[in-house]
Amino acid sequence: MVRSRALLAKPWLWSFLGAFAVWLATIAFTGGRGGGGMLSAALALAQFTVIVGIGQMFVITLGPGNVDLSLPANIGLASAVAMKVMGGSDSMIVAGLLAALACGTAIGAANYALIRALRIPPIIATLSASFIIQSADISYGRGLQIKPPPGFADFTNLQLFGIPILAILTAAISVVAAIALHRMAFGRSVLAIGQNSRAAWLAGTPVERTRALTYTLSGALGGIDGALLAGYFRGANVDIGNEYLLASLAVVVIGGTSVAGGRANVPGLWGAALFLVLLLTMLNTFGVSAGVRLLVTGLVIVAVIAVAGDQGAHR
């Protein structure tokens, strides 16, 4: 009883259990074939969600109403910028990555500027920004040959003992994020603001500077994600980031971060991202149609949130 209550207190554990269960169901269906390959493919896809999930997690932890809706547009534009700067040449890979990082950082900073200057809810600020970013992307990406340099495409698909190299890098980023969250002034400030922003302000926490940093961080991670996605899928396009709005929000919530703010969890992001990717893999293995896939994904997300749900959120 005590143990089960301790388990319930760590809702992110469920995400790993869920991922494991889905994986078992799939290899039971295939008769045990391809379990390992499935895992490394799932890791490769899951880490894209984890990168933006980290940014979204910090933003959501700031408290009710904080959310970054501009991530899909941000990813789209950054992927185009990265591919254009790289221009298909291996020597420009680093420059392209830096350009995507700069693009994402600028978008994040612009989001915060809108929130601060117009005193509007972040939802609307990031939404308005995403309209403009999307247009910029459509206009900028038109008629471009947006293919990654071969070296970059190979790098993003590289595996080390069956583990995608990008997943290893993202794991490193996750460790840094977890340390920043729990051990550094920045993360502690984010948590404090999410728990009670007025109390945090009275205690001398630099509230506005922390919020600015958080939105900029989310933007920067979106930018990096865009560049990596374009490499992995061998090309940039306007819709490349579309699925990452639901995905980033879902992994944050399923992963045990409180939507009411003030409580965050990094390992849960991995469990939830793996769960979502493996769920899609399972549905693909079962050979269901696109409609059923969407339907089941939506129902499972709603069901998981309803079960993991009630975190004592005060909306």
Binding site: L127, L249, L295, I305, A313
Partner: protein
């Protein structure tokens, strides 16, 4: 004695300044619509005519209805990110079942409204974030739409087509319809006692609960109303396009939120304005109108026009509100 008078006078003038700021704030949506219309008239005077408005506002009615759906959800401090794919789903039902086997179509649409009410209940009972739940539901509606209509097609029922094809004398139909919708929702939500309760569930839920009203019921009613207006939005959309596809309403989620906010709604506190929201939706519909193409605004930047209008109006509101404080 003199100081008391001076204080009273100062209070009076402060009061008047606040009232003026409130007035400007209330008229901001209309002002922004007038500005957009002015810009259109300046760029292309011929657009300001019966025919021009008919063209520009062709798709305004479904956008207005989707905006009203979103308005109900926002009244209760929630947000519906699934309204766009819900409109797609309704569109697919309208163009298939409602056309071929009407009773099945009606049952499906009524069932969909019940699902909306159930989502409201789930969000309240389990204390869930509406953003994530409705984002998940958007996949459900999208999936159902794809299942019903894997390829674009279907056909709108004849009676539905004839409604939207009706030519009003003097004033184009979309304008009349928008005015009627604004009036009905304004009366229902702003002038009836239960409307006040519904808004109160967003303004001060604790007080409302203490006064003995069921917050579960208000949440379910608000979501059911959102579902109802989502159904009307999807049906009116199909009456204009006459056929459907599974992504037909995908842009409506963002347009609807933008319309409510443009119209003076706020996310917190149940502060909404149905008339403002309709005006906001019309502004968005105009800004997204294909007519922009003739005005040297490249199609690539039309989405940006929506974002820019939103930012400019909110900036203006922030200026006014600062004076109101």
């Amino acid at each position: 004695m003199h100081t008391e008078l001076a204080v009273a006078a100062a209070r009076e003038s402060a009061h008047r300044a606040t009232a003026r700021a409130r007035l400007i704030r209330a008229w901001l949506p209309t002002l922004s619509l007038a500005l957009v219309l002015g810009a259109i008239a300046w760029l292309n005077p011929r657009a300001i005519s019966y025919f021009g408005f008919g063209l520009m506002l062709n798709l305004a009615v479904p956008i207005v209805l989707a905006t009203i759906a979103q308005l109900f959800v926002i009244s209760g401090n929630e947000l519906d990110l699934s309204i766009g794919s819900f409109v797609s789903f309704v569109g697919c039902v309208t163009a298939t079942w409602l056309h071929e086997t009407p009773w099945l179509g009606v049952a499906a649409l009524l069932g969909a409204v019940c699902v909306y009410a159930a989502i409201g209940a789930l969000i309240y009972v389990r204390n869930l974030p509406s953003i994530v739940v409705t984002l998940g539901m958007s996949f459900v509606w999208q999936g159902l739409a794809v299942l019903m209509l894997p390829k674009p097609g279907g056909k709108a029922p004849q009676w539905l087509q004839s409604i939207s094809a009706f030519a009003m004398p003097w004033v184009p139909l979309p304008i009349v319809a928008a005015a009627a919708i604004a009036a009905i929702v304004h009366l229902g939500l702003m002038r009836t006692s239960y409307g006040a309760i519904l808004r109160g569930s967003g303004g001060n839920p604790a007080a409302l609960a203490r006064a003995g009203w069921s917050l579960l019921k208000t949440k379910m009613v608000l979501f059911a109303l959102a579902g109802l207006f989502g159904v009307l939005s999807g049906m009116s959309l199909i009456s204009i396009t006459t056929s459907a596809d599974a992504n037909i309403g995908s842009g409506y989620t963002l347009l609807a939120i933008a319309g409510v906010i443009l119209g003076g709604g706020e996310f917190i506190g149940g502060r909404v304005s149905p008339i403002g929201a309709v005006v906001g939706a019309l502004t968005m519909a105009l800004a997204a109108s294909p007519l922009l193409t003739f005005m040297n605004i490249p199609p690539d930047w039309q989405v940006a026009a929506n974002g820019a209008i939103l930012i400019v109006v909110l900036a203006a509101r922030a200026l006014v509100s600062r004076r109101e404080d």
